[in-house]
């Protein structure tokens, strides 16, 4: 189910009211059934994949806790193989097979391995990563195995963050699912405001910018450098508003139910270095990779070349996590390379620093360049976009589907977003009347300025 749909509106109202009308011990049933429905709206049969990983990880957690020595590791491995196996089949099988076909083609050989005609289950990478974090934490002894099958299932399936995160940790969420949460008017207001902020980002900013982005990126051959440059900058903000908008709605929805989800974005485009960017962008994923891949690889407590290798490999895998395409691998590799360069500079030339504004500008430009690979349909397309951008002529006409007024409106929206983040503006009128009148006003603004194409959130595909 899409957050930006009427179906979600009715679903949200029903679940929220019923949740607070039910006694605490029955609430998990409502949330679990609601989450199943939420997921099954996309493609009902794929609920079986979720059930499969839930059952495996539930028992793996208990077995890990009860086992000693090597058996603990064996159960953890079984759980990881099951989760990664599901990912491999549904997300990476055809990608690997395609590469095998190309490779064999180089030697004039035919690839006998068939391709699978399967649709990628929505949000697969998110819930498998969340499930894996559970068994790993149980293995490390940081989390007790959950004995309540329903609560564990809800940990994986909790509908606000089921399909696009934040990718939660068991230590943060599981205990909250056990605790009673009486209705709290303050939380309701704060949650509603967070949801409104998310919707504004998604339907007013992201979906509007997507018109310009799609217009240019769907006709790369015909477009000039200036149009592609504008589309790239717009995509930079589109993806941010799309994804952080989703996170805001998820966090707001959960907050109303009494559950606090982790912060997923912290003004990433104000960053002055790539390292800082990654401490502010998709925090739940970057900390996942830090905790479960980077540190086990040795992190920075290894020889310098190995440290750089660790950074690079983690970002390559992070790229691959996003999608089974070389564009995502290059996107990750670029971020990894920038971070390595940044660390070399810090180690060997610590005094070599640009003024603050230039640091920000350089970081922003580097991030923009990497987004070209994220958005382009192929590596060739991405290089063509970059070639056109780096040889652009400012005298060339700007091709956009918008008139001047709407282009100015887009730029104002972006400026407003950056200003809000820079100044830390928040909006929460005191008093019920003022609050609900303001909320109604915001809803009207979202309706009038929103673009309702019922576009999926970009990160759903991952």
């Amino acid at each position: 189910m899409l957050f930006n749909s009427l179906q979600f509106l009715f679903f949200f109202v029903f679940i929220t009211i019923t949740y607070f009308r039910l006694p605490h011990r029955q609430r998990w049933i409502l949330l679990l059934l609601g989450s199943c429905y939420f997921y099954m709206v996309f493609k009902p049969i794929y609920i079986l994949i979720l059930i499969f990983t839930i059952v495996i990880d539930y028992f793996a957690g208990i077995f890990i806790e009860n086992a000693q020595g090597k058996r603990r590791k064996m159960f953890l491995l079984a759980s990881l193989v099951a989760n990664i196996g599901v990912l491999a089949v549904f997300k990476y099988y055809n990608f690997l097979n395609l590469n095998l076909t190309h490779l064999l083609g180089e030697f004039h050989r035919h690839n006998p391995v068939p391709f699978l005609s399967i649709l990628l289950p929505i949000g697969l990478s998110f819930h498998t990563f969340q499930a894996m974090s559970y068994t790993i934490e149980v293995y490390r002894g940081n989390q007790k195995a959950e004995r309540h099958f329903g609560i564990y299932s809800l940990y994986v399936m909790f509908y606000p963050q089921l399909v696009a995160g934040p990718i939660e940790r068991p230590q943060n969420v599981l205990h909250q699912l056990h605790e009673p949460h009486p209705f709290d008017h303050q939380r309701l207001q704060s949650g509603l405001m967070k949801i409104a902020e998310g919707f504004f980002k998604k339907v007013v900013i992201a979906d509007r910018l997507s018109w310009v982005v799609n217009h240019s990126f769907n006709h790369i051959q015909q477009e000039n450098g200036l149009s592609l440059l504008v589309a790239t900058v717009f995509f930079t903000f589109q993806i941010y508003c799309d994804f952080s908008g989703y996170s805001d709605i998820a966090i707001g929805t959960a907050r109303i139910l009494g559950i606090d989800l982790m912060k997923n974005f912290n003004h990433p485009y104000l960053s002055r270095s790539i390292g800082e960017f990654w401490s502010r962008w998709h925090i739940s994923l970057s900390t996942w990779f830090r905790d479960y891949l980077y540190i086990p690889l040795g992190g920075n407590r290894v020889a310098v070349p190995r440290f750089y290798f660790n950074i690079f490999i983690v970002f390559m895998i992070s790229g691959l996590w996003h999608g089974a395409n070389w564009t995502f691998v290059i996107w990750g590799a670029l971020h990894g390379s920038f971070l390595v360069v940044e660390n070399i500079r810090k180690k060997w030339w610590p005094s070599l620093r640009l003024p603050g504004a230039l640091q920000w500008l350089l970081t922003f430009l580097l991030v923009c360049i990497t987004w070209v690979f994220f958005r382009a349909a192929s590596v060739q397309d991405a290089f063509l976009v970059l070639r056109k951008i780096f040889t652009l002529s400012f005298g060339a006409p700007l091709h956009t589907p918008f008139n001047l007024a709407e282009m100015i409106f887009c730029i104002l929206l972006i400026a407003l977003l950056l200003l809000k983040e820079k100044r830390g503006w928040t909006f929460h009128p005191s008093g019920n009347l003022a609050f609900y009148s303001s909320l109604a006003g915001i809803a009207l603004v979202i309706y009038f300025f929103g673009v309702f194409n019922y576009t999926q959130f970009i990160y759903f595909q991952f």
């Binding site: 029903f14 009211i17 429905y37 709206v41 709407e406």
Partner: protein
Amino acid sequence: MKKFFAYSGMLLSLAALVLASSPYLMKKIKGHIPDPNRNGDLYMMSALPGFKDPHFTEDCPTPAFHSPKLDHVALYILGDSYTKYMKPASFNTAFYHFIHWDDPPHKIAALDSTKRNILIIECTERQIRERFGVSFIHNFAIQKNYHPETDPSIQPHKLDLQAEDNLKYLFTFNKEVGYFKNLKASFNRMVFDRVDKDVYLDKQHQRLYLSATVDTEANTSSFRYLPDQELRTMVKHLNEALAFFQKAGFSAVYFSVMPNPVSLIAPQTGSYNHLVERLQTAPGLKMPYIDAWHLLSPQAPDLYFRSDTHWNCAGRDRWLQAVDSLLHQEAPSPERP
């Protein structure tokens, strides 16, 4: 009071979700809520008040036929939105049966051998490349003792979790929401010079067309390049269909392509591909056709609705009269003693 609101909200939202998820219940309720198309489908999509037609109707008067009724003719139409709403009285024949393109497999009850069975394959120009571009005969079956009303394959599903369209149908086409939609659409048009993505507003702001018929990215567009090879493929499939239906017992089979309004009214909008004319005059084409293109091109702006993608009653009547003349030529009434 708080409890009352809470329970009301809970029950209403649950009722809305259940209703919208049940094709059976939706079918029952559809006659009792405003029809989204009541002012024309282009108006429904665009919400531009200037294109609202309060007198829009798909229920045209029965044509006045000047020739005797063809009691020995059974007419079948395989068609879509243009012929969907026609009633048996729209044709001067003893029997009329409509089969919708969107409902394959198309099962037809065994033909009445005492009558002349005639089939018209009606297709809109925008869907012709998709439909005739592939072989479509395997979607058809003529069955003895077939009763569509008891066919489980064409009964609605009991449950459909994707309830979004039904919810929109239930809640967003009433007068109150319509007011806000009009405001928003007018604002977008005036300030941003933009209309809903599903429609195209001509440069003079006089007529709306379906975007799919103008956008050259779409296969449905009148302005998308049409290679000769693709045309030959369509001819091949039409000829194949002619042989198939003749073998199945139809004494005559025609096709009729309903031109996109933009093709007739504003072909200068882009580089028009002349699909209809090229298909009708394509070498090797064996299936005869009812030439809607030349029937509708004179006075075309007066034969199509401004608020809807389809022909109006005058356009429809023109086509029905042509069909009637053709049926009389094809199956003249037997001489009475």
